[in-house]
């Protein structure tokens, strides 16, 4: 598959710097625990956050962390996309017989983000060991599925928000609010956020489906907000929805670029 080849080529060239890559990955892995330390510090001050215990928040943190790490592997390099527009390299993509989104996504693959994925695994393991999850076939399958849907949602939001670059190259900074902001907020249960924000996250930018709703299912936890029960199964729908929206947005943005000039 063409994507596989393109990605393999990038990975090969990154692995050439074997030592630096290994050091980076190990360093990232160690240091990323400091990120989780923030969660622990909060629970040092309080026994519960909203209706959630530290292990439950750790579960949210880890599953969304895995989703985000995967998304970063695949589309994290989009942060550098403004440069492609600025120096006119995007035009080169338009002269090739392939879709531009496909080309832009397959241009890079950030192997060094792997360290963060491993850290999320470790935290997930810790959380699961301390939680009393009523495992059954559905829940076991739900775990990788929720991580995959979460990754798809993050990717969709990334593409959607980076499209703003076609109108204003400096707008990329605003995209951070959605991509890294999304990472930040999915670490915690959405019941700590104000009502207006919860509505936004559930129905507009479907961040609540990255970890919160699926976690309610896996942990078999009643929703402290009392929202409809079927929401906890809706993550795949949200993922598909946001990906379709982002693909359409990209197309619209490229059409603008091709009419208004570089």
């Amino acid at each position: 598959m063409l994507y596989g080849r393109l990605v393999l080529a990038r990975v090969r060239s990154q692995l050439q710097y074997r030592l630096s890559f290994a050091l980076d990955t190990v360093a990232m892995f160690l240091v990323s625990f400091l990120d989780f330390l923030a969660v622990l510090l909060i629970f040092h001050a309080t026994p519960r956050l909203g209706a959630f215990s530290v292990e439950e928040v750790a579960f949210l943190y880890a599953t969304s962390g895995l989703s985000f790490a995967i998304a970063e592997l695949v589309v994290g390099h989009l942060d550098g996309f403004p440069q492609l527009i600025r120096d006119g390299s995007f035009d080169v993509l338009l002269v090739r017989p392939r879709g531009t989104l496909f080309q832009v996504v397959s241009i890079d693959f950030q192997l060094r983000r792997l360290g963060l994925a491993v850290q999320a695994f470790v935290v997930l393991g810790w959380a699961i060991s301390r939680l009393d999850i009523p495992w059954d076939a559905g829940r076991v399958a739900a775990l990788p599925l929720m991580v995959a849907c979460g990754a798809a949602i993050f990717c969709g939001v990334w593409v959607l928000t980076i499209s703003v670059v076609f109108w204003a190259v400096e707008g990329r900074e605003a995209a951070n609010a959605f991509t890294y902001g999304g990472r930040q907020l999915t670490q915690y249960p959405i019941d700590v956020y104000g009502r207006w924000l919860r509505r936004l996250l559930a129905y507009v930018i479907p961040m609540a489906f990255v970890s919160y709703f699926p976690a309610l299912y896996v942990l078999d936890k009643p929703d402290p907000l009392g929202l409809p029960h079927w929401l906890r199964y809706a993550a795949p729908v949200a993922a598909v929805g946001i990906c379709v929206a982002s693909a359409l947005m990209w197309r619209f943005a490229v059409r603008h670029y091709r009419s208004a000039g570089g």
């Binding site: 080169v92 338009l94 090739r96 091709r258 009419s259 208004a260 000039g261």
Partner: protein, 310 residues
Amino acid sequence: MIEVEKLSKRFVVREGRFRRRRRTVDAVSEISFGVERGELLGYLGPNGAGKSTTVKMLTGILVPSSGRVRVAGLEPSRQRIQLARRIGAMFGQRVQLWWDLPLADSFELLRHIYRVPADRYRESLDRFREVLDLDPFLQTPVRQLSLGQRIRGELTAAMLHGPELLFLDEPTIGLDVVAKQRVRDFLVELNRERGVTILLTTHDLGDIERLCSRLLVIDHGRLIWDGGIDDLKERYGEERTLVVDLEEPSPPLEVEGARVERVDGPRQWLRFRGSAAELTARVAEHARLVDLQVAEPDIEEIVRRIYSGR
């Protein structure tokens, strides 16, 4: 191969503190021309004249504001991907190859992007390797290549999928004389032997002199010349130079209908209009000639004259 009819492109530029003022720029204004299969033509114009805008509309990068354009029978802006298979493009200042990978890997990736059958790819690549002498650096990462090597790699990349039409934007910029010649020879072979239609956008008049039989000149969005180079010289090259070698050094000749531009020992350069034969006769009346030569008008001068609107 290419049909362009009243093609225009208009941009809206937002200026001012909060981008509130709007100004329309007519980058390309109603240009029309046609290109037959197998032509090798040059596209010239001062910076900002609309050259790259035109090429972008021909390749499907930009959508025209109005007018009609067909390339290889396809409409570039609507049939971008179909057209992409049949054209090759090389932008001298933008890198198409993968920076960190060996040249050969870039070619492989392009093969898959363009879906070139393995045997046709092999054949193409072998030929380019030979003509452009790629073997010494085929395995070198692109970022370590010299400019000349990179340009040869880019040309190969543009041609690997066997396009019928090639768009080149400043392909020889920055190259030394030897490298330029090599590229020019390659382009001539592509055109004459393999019938590839080539549209060459360039500032390099040497490229034009040596490669193009036909020239399109654009200025301020309008096409101001479309024709052969010889016609161009005849029309605009009003003044020519007669270089005479006299028997012995003399003061500048005073001859009717000519003025001496330069003197160097026994050699004098005379600028004149009209018949060279008549001038020669007049000069012979004044001095003893050993040898003479008529220098053709300099294309740079001609182009400058066109730009300045004469």
